[in-house]
Subunit: 508 residues, 2 copies
């Protein structure tokens, strides 16, 4: 940790606290260095327990192992919270003498379903190994023995190594380091490790309702997701809401010979193309009436934070093969601050070798609507539905009857999931400022602060069910292949994550 001009200016601004935080973090780092082989041993064991979210038997083994990790660290009240049909939550808490406020640390221990065949040769989802770099970028597997020194540039490969067992490891070991270094937490601490995030946190609301008083806190810290593309530490004060709408437009009842009936029988593929095409203009602006009307404007503080986020566009363009982003020169971070409408999928008839000269019977599309603060899922769906209605469509929620087909020229089936709203914590709340100060004390560069991530999590339930504030602190490397093959964590991110959480446990 070197003192540079930036850190010095922070120290001058916040005074002695920052300097004392600095010395505390050095203790945490020292503890980690002395114990990193034990930490890695436990991490390897944890990643080796299969945890595909629908494999409840194995998921339960993970829960038991993590509960023991808490008990081993003196959290003797660790327990499994249960709800019917749900994978359990691993819970524990620590009352800190003199503390008046409570932070609850969230991570999840279940992983995405995985297809081992897609992994690079030598890598297996539940047989974690160290690699020098991603295999597809020329890395190789390290012949690691438990007594070997660990290079922080190495990566540990395995399903859920990043998403989100890294979160569990950072939280548990930060607490351990704190206690063993004789540093006192400033808040009461609770641990909440979910077991079904990867299947949509189906029972999260049930858990929050059932264990409302046990889960009472001032702040939820969500340890999940990757840090900024630049590699810098990041604090995200919100997530977007999300809802999917499935559209089906109907053509003739049977597939028709395109020569005998084409240009007389309505073509549902063309109808879908024309319906979707009009939803956005050439600048990527959604043309649906009122689409942006209820967006809560960014505060001055939020705007300022955004303006300081380093540009990622040149690197992304190269990486992704994008010459002209949708919306032109608008930075990605500005797009993230707006509600979106995207086509996730579109299908009508067949393409490629299966294509036939027919007028298809239907065309389908799946829309993805991301919501920001101020939007409401039901209102957002209504805006899209009203747009479709204004285009002359008869709207139904099931396949049309013969009578409806005879009556209406343009028929569309619309269905959607429940969806959920966005969540955003104001960056200028005192507790938000405390979080920023604590994490800032661990690094020598300005943190990346974002009012909201681009992605979605149902974090609004914490606010709604418990009245708690929520802030997300991502732990792992950007290129960790979350949800995909060859998932991995760069070890330096694990070490830095422990420091981050330890700093939060001592924040003022």
């Amino acid at each position: 940790m070197k003192f540079n001009a930036y850190l010095l200016s922070v120290a001058l601004l916040f005074g002695a606290n920052v300097l004392s935080a600095q010395s505390n973090i050095q203790k945490i780092t020292a503890f980690r260095k002395a114990n990193e082989q034990d930490i890695i041993k436990e991490y390897l064991k944890l990643v080796a327990i299969p945890d595909e979210t629908n494999d409840s038997a194995n998921v339960l083994l993970n829960a038991g192992y993590i509960k023991e990790m808490l008990v081993k660290r003196g959290i003797s009240n660790a327990e499994l919270l249960t709800s019917p049909s749900a994978n359990p939550v691993v819970y524990g808490d620590v009352k800190v003498p003199g503390a008046t406020k409570t932070i609850i640390f969230y991570a999840h221990y279940d992983g995405q379903p995985v297809n081992p065949k897609q992994w690079s040769p030598g890598l297996k989802p539940f047989e974690p190994v160290f690699i020098t770099a991603p295999i597809e970028q020329g890395g190789h597997i390290i012949d690691y023995k438990p007594s070997d020194a660990i290079d922080p540039a190495w990566r540990l490969s395995g399903r859920a190594s990043a998403d989100d067992k890294a979160g569990v490891m950072c939280i548990v070991n930060a607490y351990d380091a704190l206690v063993k270094s004789k540093l006192k937490p400033t808040y009461n601490i609770k641990f909440f490790f979910e077991g079904e995030e990867e299947r949509g946190s189906t029972h999260l609301a049930d858990f929050l309702a059932k264990y409302k008083s046990k889960l009472a806190s001032d702040l939820w810290i969500i340890c999940d997701g990757p840090r900024h593309v630049s590699g810098k530490k990041m604090v995200s004060f919100g997530v977007r809401g999300d809802i999917n709408m499935a559209l089906t437009i109907y053509g003739p009842k049977r597939p028709l010979h395109s020569g005998n009936y084409g240009n007389w029988a309505p073509n549902p593929g063309l109808m879908m193309a024309q319906l979707l095409a009009g939803m956005k203009d050439d600048n990527g602006h959604v043309t649906i009436k009122g689409f942006y009307d209820d967006v809560t404007p960014l505060s001055a503080r939020e705007k300022e934070a955004i303006s300081k986020i380093p540009a990622v566009e040149p690197a992304l363009k190269k990486d992704l093969g994008v010459a002209e982003p949708e919306g032109g020169v608008r930075p990605l971070i500005e797009a993230i601050m707006l509600p979106t409408l995207n086509i996730n999928g579109m299908a009508s008839g067949n393409v490629g070798a299966l294509a036939a000269n027919v007028i298809p019977t239907k065309a389908e599309a799946m829309l993805d609507l991301r919501l920001v603060l101020g939007n409401d899922v039901e209102r957002q769906v209504k805006k899209v539905t009203d747009y479709i209605k204004a285009k002359g469509y008869y709207i139904t929620d099931k396949d049309p009857t013969d009578e409806e087909r005879t009556k209406y020229g343009k028929i569309i089936k619309i269905s959607h999931d429940a969806g959920y709203n966005a969540q955003r914590t104001p960056m200028d709340l005192p507790i938000a400022q405390s979080v920023i100060t604590a994490i800032q004390s661990t690094v020598a560069y300005p943190l990346i602060l974002t009012p909201s991530s681009g992605g979605s999590l149902p974090l609004f339930v914490f606010e709604k069910a418990l009245g708690a504030k929520v802030i997300t602190i991502p732990m792992v490397n950007y290129d960790s292949n979350q949800h995909a093959e060859n998932e991995n964590v760069k070890i330096s991110y694990l070490w830095e994550g422990i420091e981050t959480i330890a700093a939060l446990m001592q924040m003022k």
Copy 2:
């Protein structure tokens, strides 16, 4: 055969010829009635020989059987014409003393690939049986014995029973009936039974080149396809051309998280929707520059013929569940006289249960362009390509390189098959008038005369390679399920087809 007012007016117009043709047809009918059990026996045997077009071993058995059918009828020069990699053509000819002109009768004996599992219980593609009506409309299988009388309302079920072994049966038995009834053909007669129509007549041009002098004739009569929806006999003077264009629009190189990158990364699904949507206006009119410019206008005679075709739209609307045809009130037959542009298929990402919140990497579409007289496949493709270019697309014929992706914001891959042009024989040619008069003599209602069918066949090759005229005389019932499960022929259509062909063999 009853003489009604219409037929009387035809007789008054054309005089004695019609009355003599009438009496000749009665002889054909009498011969057929006396021999129908033998005809059916042979038909059942022919349909029982599997003939899926890619099953060359079995296709060859069909060819041998049909050659023997010709020999049995005194056409001793019957032979198999060959070309490398091609299923053979069954050929034979009859020189008629005094005849100065030649008609060549075309049918094909190969069938579409078939999935027996899709057929109704009791029906098997290559075990032909009689049914009282389509099984799906409440028909049942008849326990037929070879000596039973045959009800002309019955249908014979089996793959290729309609498409196009019915054509072979009608041609061969018309000639047989003519000779055995001691009626003399007025033209030299040639027989041409193709063995690979169902895989695109891949070697037809090779055969026409190799056997150019053998195949010389004044007129090709194509016996293929279903008669008009009204059940009336039909003469079609042309077919449309056809070409398919496959389009692929590229998005980011990897599928991207729609929350983290949506509305920044270009969405290829939306780009495809916007490209396709603009190709047609709300009236079904293709907006592509010059799309209709080179269409050869219909002659007065053709316009008149079209105006007399009975309306099929009310029945089709009910049958197909169509409330508002594309192009509004324009009759189907008018749409068929125009070049078309249709979307056969469209795909991007996934829909339904497989849908994911991603920005897909590409969007694909398959276009079907039907061509009419005056159009040219290369010109038609160029019109569409120019339209796409004018929308700002960089056009390639392969997946883009990284360099192209960096350089061009809108990239599309366009590929297409060879395609072929339309064919149309003017209805007022003397030989066309002879055909009309001959077939009209077999029925008491006005024939359906159409300048062109909606579908496509590469009939232009006969004109191009041999300088011959081509007229299509469809043989079978409209609801014969050609290319599909439960294919069948209504026996009355077989009997009427024999009369039709016999009338053509004696036309003036």
